[in-house]
Amino acid sequence: MKAIDTALSKGATYAEARYHEINEFGIIVRNGGVIGVGGGLSKGIAIRVLYKGVLAFAATTDLSTEGVLRAVDEALSRARALSYTLLGKTPVERLSPAKIGRARYSNVVKKPLDSMDIDEKLRLLKELHASAKEGVKECKLATTAIEYTEQVERKIVVNSDGGYVDSEITRVATQCNLVLAHPQKGTANRFFGLGASSGLEVLKEWDLHARFREEAQALDNVLSRGIEPPKEPVPVVIGSEVVGLIVHESCGHPMEADRVWGREAAQAGESFVKTRGVKLGDRIGNELATVIDDPTIPNSFGFYLYDDECVTARPRYIYLKGVLNEFLHNRWSASIFNTESNAAARAKDFSSEPIPRMSTTYLEPGNQKFEELLEGIKLGVFVKSYMEWNIDDERWSQRYVGLEAYLIRNGELSEPVRNPVLEFTTPQFYSLIEAKDRDLKFYAAFCGKGEPGQAIPVWMGGPNVRLKSLFVGWR
């Protein structure tokens, strides 16, 4: 509180201090051999002040009282210097009002991280190469690479508007790469990540042995027997893994309010909402296009109950029945748009400013079974997973290249398809949705944004989705 009081006494209209500690443990395993074991401890204090319309941020690893007060002075000094120039005149004199909380919370951890010995974790990870091998028939399993991480993130955020939130989130994650080689067909890569805010109980749910076996089996099948997709436009069923990525890229990102205003223009780009003159209330897709971002889903990788400005979290309906409904805001962007923050402020660590971010972004599921999505399709393509993807910097034109994919013949999955390419615009995708199944699934990722870059944990998800006919390319 001393930092806050000091900042206010020296003219700041808003001040915030965040103690932010991330304690990590990790293991790297390759082809069943332990490459190394290690960890990390990131710990420091972030200060943010608003002074005469200038937002300034300072971070320090010096946790002494003098060190923290020095950071306050540095932030104020930068703000003061810029406040005298026209360049410093931002549109924000005060942060927006918001439902500010005072709370202490943590996520539910049934099986603590130390409840399993490191030896046991090593044994599990080493065995996965053999599990993957079980799934391979015609190809050679060239590489399995696994990076396993445990993380405890502790934050205490205090601000001059009465906010005080002390939180502790425990997470478990793995990043995996499989490489298969075939003497005639070449190679295939499958990269996938798993992650949750959870204790070690999530390992049972992930069933890594089965997952590695199945991933290798699917890759073996598509590499050794994959064929070209049809050349004519066909109905496409997109798996929940790909759907989750699409809504993250084409709904979540373009609806981040700072991006809409242009704050990220030189980095992650702007938004079609700005560049194409679209506004809230405009239609982007059909009635089936409802996309929600919800930080409060238990176990979700980006779980939180209060954001990094102490604002109470809630689900955000970003697209609602095909209409642009709500931007993702922190209090700075909400002030520009003359609205209230909806608690999207997140900072990666003590060295990062809190900016509007996603948490768990997903397409609202439907009520059909997967088999019903395939019904009536004489010839089509099912794209279950992906490797390559990208989207332009206004979040309009995008591309996803399938990895595990199949032809659909007469309502049933048939031969594997290799590297089918989906390329469409944002309104095309949300207008082509024809049916959704009820099987809502989530996938973990690290989402990048900001300068310096802030990779933060998120979930992306949705059901399996059937699209009307479109052209499927081939790589």
Binding site: F25, V34, G36, V37, G38, G39, G40, L41, S42, K43, G44, L55, A56, F57, A58, A59, T60, T61, S64, A71, A75, R78, A79, A81, T85, L86, D117, L122, A142, T143, N177, L178, V179, A181, G186, T187, A188, N189, R263, E264, A265, A266, S351, E353, M387, E388, W389, N390, I391, W396, S397, N419, V421, E423, F424, Q428, E451, G453, F471, R475
Partner: protein, 441 residues
């Protein structure tokens, strides 16, 4: 906290545990950043941070810890974490002893203006906006980031040195109506003219007076700007890290040392000794001497990038690119050619000048297949003349295909460093004979 004290705590504790082999890196950094958007400063940021990385090996078991340093307690906590890791780990297939050959710091990497007159650098942000408006753009966005750092490396083999250096990174995106341009610059030294040249180049492309035209996807010639070349060779150089090869995330699994996947016109150098580029240094994190060396020389794969561990695994020698865990490129130089930009444009019958790109993602690391999306000016060229501006097409190809079709390179190179180019890169314009452009149809 003094580095000497960190060293004492580390050396004493490890000695007591019977651990004879270790490497300690400590970095102290003070830096400032101004972010501009819509012609105003959106945030002024500053950092004062100290952190350490510690590697230790015992009976071929490898342990690593990275930690912020706030007090002696934080150093001790990091040590305990490392010791637990070592105790529980297993002999690593990549273990290799720390190098005995030692480097020494480079001199003249510190620009006193960055250290002593940070406000002079900050004041430049006003000049950038003024210059952009003088050049007729509507608005700009961008970043100025600068600072001073000291990187210490201390190892159990008797190496102990510090590499001080300053850095400055500037990039600007300029907008006029529907059009935008972008340019970037990075250096160890402050230079007002180079800094302002970013806004001049970005504005030059933003204010091009050409009609807008939608161009069909297909195979085209392409002039890649230094920004695009830098982004692509960043991806390529990361793949040259021995660790990426080991992990199956590299086209150099397939194209090993001595193979020739690229054109004679393509030489890519890892250049830590280039003093004007921001990541210049004389020694790596294991204390080994840094050297300039080709990753690719006249199309031939010459070097992977190694630390002592990956070198050991590949039965090679360290290349002075440690990363205590992951070998990394320092600075990159793409060897320039003899052409000028006008002559490259004249050589294009049907193609594009691609000013900028982002979101480069791989479909298959081993095959090196990827796509990347253009951003900012995408100039359609027909019969040697700029004809129109197009929008947001993507290049979908493979590294082997693109860099085996280099027709020509400009004589002039540019020092590029920005959000999408993490490793500072000196690159020319590059004419590619043919590559695939796609977009939704």
């Amino acid at each position: 906290m003094e580095v000497e004290r960190i060293k004492e705590i580390v050396a004493s504790r490890l000695r007591n545990e019977g651990i004879e082999e270790w490497a300690l890196v400590v970095e102290r950094r003070r830096s400032s950043m101004i972010k501009i958007a819509n012609n105003v400063v959106t945030v002024a940021q500053g950092w004062n941070a100290a952190w350490m990385e510690l590697y230790a090996a015992k009976e071929k078991k490898i342990g690593y810890v990275g930690s912020m340093v706030s007090d002696e307690g934080s150093v001790s906590a990091a040590l305990e974490k490392l010791l637990l890791s070592l105790k529980k780990s297993e002999p690593s297939p990549i273990y290799g002893p720390l190098p005995r050959a030692h480097g020494s710091p480079l001199s003249d990497l510190v620009d006193p203006r960055i250290v002593e007159e940070p406000n002079t650098v900050l004041e430049i942000s006003s000049k950038i906006v003024d210059e952009a408006q003088r050049l007729g753009v509507d608005r700009i966005a961008g970043t100025i980031h600068f600072g001073y750092r000291e990187r210490y490396a201390i190892t159990s083999t008797g190496f102990e040195a510090v590499q001080p250096s300053t850095f400055i990174q500037v990039y600007v995106r300029a907008f006029r109506d529907e059009n935008s341009g972008h340019w970037a610059w990075g250096s160890t030294r402050f230079d007002e003219d180079s800094l302002l040249s970013t806004v001049r180049k970005a504005s030059e492309f933003a204010t091009l007076k050409l009609p807008r035209q939608s161009i069909d996807p297909g195979e085209y010639q392409a002039i890649l700007s230094p920004l695009v070349v830098a982004n692509l060779v960043n991806n390529l150089a990361f793949m040259a890290s021995g660790m990426m090869v080991l992990m199956g995330a590299s086209m150099f699994v397939k194209h090993g040392i001595g193979s020739k996947p690229f054109s004679d016109n393509f030489t890519l150098i890892d250049a830590p000794l280039e003093k004007s580029l921001p990541h210049a240094r004389g020694f790596d994190d294991e204390g080994a001497p840094c050297t300039n060396k080709p990753i690719i020389e006249r199309g031939i794969v010459r070097n992977l990038l190694h630390n002592a561990k990956t070198a050991n695994y590949f039965n090679s020698e360290t290349t002075g690119n440690a990363g205590l865990v992951m070998p990394i490129p320092w600075n990159l130089i793409v060897e320039s050619g003899s052409a000028d930009l006008d002559s490259l444009v004249k050589d294009v019958r049907r193609g594009f000048l691609v000013l900028n790109n982002w979101y480069t993602r791989m479909q298959n690391w081993i095959e090196g297949t990827f796509s990347t999306v253009s951003r900012d000016a995408l100039i359609y060229i027909e019969n040697g003349e700029f004809k129109a501006l197009s929008k947001q097409m993507r290049i979908a190809d493979s590294f082997a295909n693109i860099f085996s079709k280099i027709e020509a390179l400009t004589r002039d190179s540019y020092d590029v460093w920005w959000w999408e180019v993490e490793i500072p890169t000196r690159a020319p314009y590059m004419l590619i004979n043919s590559t695939k452009f796609t977009k939704p149809i």
